[in-house]
Amino acid sequence: MEWLSAVSKVFFFIAAGGLLGWYLGDPMVGVTVAALAVVFFWSRQMWRLEHWLRDTSDSPPDVPGIWGEMVARVYRKHRSAETTQKRLQSTVDYLLDSFSAMRDGVVIVHGNGAIRWCNEAAQRLLGLQHPQDIGQLITNLVRLPEFNEYLDSGDYAEPLVFETTGGTRLNLRMVVTQFSDGDTLLFLSDVTEVVRTEQMRTDFVGNVSHELRTPLTVITGYLETFLGDVSSLPAPYARGLEQMAGQARRMESLLKDLLWLSKIESTEHRVKNDQVDVPALLVELADEISSIYPDRPLQLEISCQEGILGEYRELYSAVSNLVLNGYKYSGPDGRVFASWRAEAGCIRLDVVDQGIGIDPVQFPRLTERFYRVDESRSLASGGTGLGLAIVKHVATAHGAELKIDSKPGQGSTFSLVFAHTNKR
């Protein structure tokens, strides 16, 4: 016990003073002098200690006894705290440095929407200024309706792609992560190039399809004229011309589908607000089918009279693609069913056939353009390979999900599942 020995030393010293005083004549004077000496000594140590604690960067004072022990302990504690703090600071600096150096923009946003920190890339991408903009609401500086809505929604499952305003316009993709007490981390990457390339591709397909139609019309026009008078043609020519006409027709429907697809693609992100009466759509489709397959009517089962918000022509083309596929891929007497019914939280449209079915491994690739499960069969049926791609895009544009269920040899079910929020 350091303390005990220090205190006993003091008492011993005072007692010795008293003894000396008693020997010299007055013990009280001796005790008082000794006590004063102790007080003076301790005050001096206290003063040195306090002086050092004010600025601990100096080396600790060389004080004797328990005071020296205390100084040493404080000094050790202080040193270890200092190193811990340095280590922490360097970790924080390191992390912020690595964020700063990132090519993607990073913004840390406080729970109330105020900017806490942003890196250089974010300053460039969003036009922020560091450090003046710290504490400003991010929505006051970015000022885009869709950006505000996205941040307000609290649903960050899907990243947001948006175009900035101001001098240079960029397409940005933003991923939002929430952490600790409602603070959010915004990751921004520049996707301007990607969006432009995608736009060019869509435009290109659209333009090429459009340009190819005119020459094709001339070719089919002449072919039809020649074939109108087959008897006057030499036999080998007639066969060749007929095949040419067949291929020209195929090419026409291909171009028609491609154009339609690029139109759907370009309007995919537009809000669709027309009320579509799906039961009436199915009835109209059944009428059309009865003129193509007179003895195989489309079996309808409408158990729900609700419509959805959308675009009639797009939905019609999607459903008719599904139904016609059903006919193409089932035997000459296979039946096709279409049903429209409400379920918990969604409305679904099912198209069921009793055809050849599809192997589930093929499902993910079915909606790719020009993908065919069985090349020879598709060519014979006159398909363009774009049908399901159209269905997929129409589904996405209407916030619906395309579900496929099938087994080889047991028919297939294609379903369009519309979220209930889509209806009025």
Binding site: G135, Q136, T139, N140, V142, R143, P145, N148, R270
Partner: protein
């Protein structure tokens, strides 16, 4: 000089939030109108009538926002009787609010001209002037709103000066359009519609400059409207 933190100094927490709110709502509306403007010009140039119709149908949302902000400002004036910088904030929000709403109206007008121009077919000008002045004016509006958000007086002064450039561009665009009309009188119909759209853009430039002037008022308490040279005026005041 007014600083960002000055709105956080009231004893009443509620008053702080009310002042913050009107500013946030105003900037939200500004962002919406800026987007309306950009889309209107794009719809006109690309002859996209469906986008143009959407823009026209969205104009009422801006009007709703304007009414709400005015209402909030009136409530603050009645309930808090603000003074000094708080009063300047409320007054400038009311003024900027009107300007932003007008810009929204002009954007809808541009969209309407877009529909008309799309119906009329090819244009001899290829909309070069509209494209150019449109992007210039949109960036002015963006800067004016930035200046408001950051209380940045220098940027605001820049915007006010930029309006002179827009006016000059507008003048030369008008002259070139007139030559198109003289060349071929069949052009007169479409060119007149283009002139209306340009006129709207020029008005938007004026409104953006007004917003910037209100920012100077908000930050410095100086009314710089109707001054020959805004910079000289500010210098004069500084010397006094």
């Amino acid at each position: 000089m007014l600083k960002q933190e000055d709105y956080k100094q009231h004893i009443s927490e509620q008053f702080n939030t009310e002042l913050e709110e009107i500013k946030n709502h105003l900037l939200e509306m500004g962002g919406k109108v800026e987007k309306q403007l950009i889309e209107a010009v794009e719809a006109l140039v690309s002859r996209n009538t469906s986008v143009a119709e959407e823009i026209i149908s969205r104009d009422h949302e801006v009007n709703q926002m304007e009414m709400r902000i005015d209402d909030e400002c009136a409530t603050i004036l009645a309930r808090r009787q603000p003074a000094a910088s708080d009063l300047r904030l409320v007054v400038s929000v009311i003024k900027v609010n009107t300007d932003i709403e007008r810009i929204g109206d002009e954007a809808a007008k541009i969209a309407r001209q877009g529909i008309r121009l799309a119906d009329e077919g090819a244009s001899p000008t290829n909309f070069v002037e509209i494209r150019h002045i449109g992007s210039h004016v949109a960036s002015m509006l963006h800067k004016a709103l930035d200046a408001f958000a950051r209380l940045d007086m220098d940027l605001a002064v820049d915007v006010v000066k930029e309006d002179n450039d827009v006016d000059k561009e507008y003048g030369s665009a008008m002259r070139s359009l007139v030559t198109f009309m003289m060349e071929d009188q069949r052009n007169i119909g479409p060119i007149l519609n283009e002139m209306w759209a340009l006129r709207s853009l020029e008005r938007i430039g004026d409104h953006a400059a007004n917003i910037a002037e209100h920012v100077v008022y908000l930050v410095r308490g100086l009314d710089v409207r109707h001054q020959e040279s805004i910079e000289e005026y500010i210098e004069q005041v500084d010397e006094r």
